[in-house]
């Protein structure tokens, strides 16, 4: 490299640092810089001046809503990442998480909450295995048995089997916003159908509904819906209960 080479590029260094070269010029200067210690030293020297420019602007507090929006997206991402990791580690539960993900990609716009749902699924799955009873493992000789218990943040779920049906018991459900009710859903072979009865929590946060037919049900979940219920889920599940087969 000659002295002329350096001088030619040196006069462009400030413009380069300020982002004022076009793309081709910037790429050429970067190639030159790799082998030019003088350019590297000059850039190091001028860097504090460049860093000072954004620091010089008048300061204003960003709106609180902006922080809420950013952190809401971040937390949804984190939940999704956690759920993806857990789903990748579990065979049976991986399949179920895929089902939930499928829900998220539908026209109902559930995408931001899928991570939450899948994370809940895993928590519930662990609890289900820990209990280990499974359908039909009667403790009182009547043919009824508790299938699984788990929780979404704060919410616990328990399904008590009786004959071909079951009763879903929720606890610690927060009071619902006005004009919202709870609706339970069952999933069989990928198809999601509503449980007929809608329900609401009592003052203690307990809510119960009956699922008349539990045959072939792979997962039970609960969402909040408008009065009268919905034909398909329109919100994130507050709890999801996979049923061991």
């Amino acid at each position: 490299m000659t002295e002329n080479d350096h001088e030619r590029w040196s006069e462009n260094l400030a413009a380069y640092m300020l982002g004022a070269l076009d793309a081709a010029e910037a790429a050429e200067l970067e190639r030159h810089r790799e082998g030019c210690e003088r350019c590297q030293a000059e850039i190091r020297w001028l860097t504090p001046a460049l860093d000072a420019l954004p620091e010089s602007v008048e300061r204003f507090a960003p709106p609180a809503e902006l922080r809420s929006r950013v952190m809401s997206e971040v937390r949804a991402d984190a939940r999704q990442a956690g759920a993806d990791r857990a789903a990748a580690e579990g065979g049976l539960w991986h399949r179920a998480a895929g089902w939930l993900r499928g829900l998220g990609s539908g026209p109902m716009g559930l995408r931001p909450v899928v991570g939450f749902a899948a994370a809940v699924l895993v928590v519930v799955a662990v609890a289900g295995y820990a209990i280990g009873g499974g359908i039909g493992s009667s403790s009182d000789g009547t043919g009824a048995g508790t299938v699984v218990a788990g929780h979404a943040p704060g919410v616990t779920a328990r399904i008590v089997m009786a004959g071909e049906g079951g009763t879903l018991h929720l606890a610690n459900v927060r009071q619902l916003p006005e004009e919202r009710v709870l609706e339970a859903w069952v999933q069989r072979r990928g198809a999601v159908t509503p449980v007929r009865a809608l329900f609401v929590p009592d003052r203690e946060g307990r809510a119960t509904t009956t699922i008349a037919d539990m045959k072939g049900v792979e997962t039970v979940m609960v969402t909040t819906e408008p009065p009268g219920g919905s034909r398909s889920p329109t919100s994130a599940p507050i709890v999801t209960v996979p049923i061991p087969q």
């Binding site: 006069e11 462009n12 260094l13 400030a14 413009a15 640092m17 300020l18 982002g19 004022a20 070269l21 076009d22 020297w45 001028l46 860097t47 504090p48 001046a49 460049l50 860093d51 000072a52 420019l53 954004p54 620091e55 010089s56 602007v57 008048e58 300061r59 204003f60 507090a61 960003p62 709106p63 902006l66 922080r67 929006r69 950013v70 952190m71 997206e73 971040v74 937390r75 991402d77 984190a78 990442a81 956690g82």
Partner: protein
């Protein structure tokens, strides 16, 4: 305040970045609280509209959240890296608005409508002081030098475009940029001495 959050607050930016790379929202929240103010202020300075500045800030932070692991400490501080991302996104937005002229002065009445920062942490207060010093350094520049720097950095114009806008030879623009940057650097060095 959770213990986890308190712990994250004690970490330097460079120590937060690996946690952010592992998708730790608490670490990211601390990062946002530390730098959200200057990021928003820079975005506002460039795009000149509150809603657009919010969009730029949100996009930049989400981009950092999703690519935090790519930060290379050999290339400078986390804060500089973050501000360069905000600046690039803001300039992209400016360029996408055809015919939108950038603001040309460091004093801008429009931003006076904005709510000033109310409570400054000690660290933020120090930075505020630094910002004042830097503005002072910029204020000492001859107008023709500060103008070309501002058009390039805050306006996103190339040196050729600036030469055409100001009706001066390209070499003059290069010289003014170089001299201006050297003067700012000199002022900063003097301030530290």
């Amino acid at each position: 305040m959770s213990v986890r959050r308190e712990k994250a607050e004690r970490l330097a930016d460079e120590e937060l970045m690996p946690l952010i790379g592992e998708k730790d929202p608490e670490a990211f929240e601390v990062f946002y609280d530390r730098h959200g103010g200057v990021a928003y202020s820079l975005a506002y300075r460039i795009v000149g509209e509150r809603a657009a500045a919010e969009d730029v800030t949100q996009e930049a932070f989400i981009s950092i959240w999703r690519s935090g692991a790519r930060f290379d400490r050999a290339r400078g501080s986390v804060r500089s890296w973050m501000l360069s991302i905000v600046r690039n996104r803001a300039i992209d937005m400016l360029r996408s608005r055809a015919g939108k002229a950038p603001k040309l002065t460091f004093d801008d009445d429009a931003i006076l409508e904005q709510r000033p920062a109310e409570e400054l942490t000690e660290e933020e207060a120090m930075r505020h002081e630094t910002a004042t010093e830097v503005r002072g350094a910029l204020g000492t520049l001859p107008g023709d030098q500060s103008k070309v720097i501002e058009l390039a950095y805050f306006g996103g114009f190339s040196q050729s475009e600036i030469a055409r806008m100001l009706g001066v030879p390209l070499g003059t623009v290069k010289g003014r940029m170089r001299l201006g940057m050297e003067k700012i650097r000199g002022e900063l060095a003097e301030g530290l001495a």
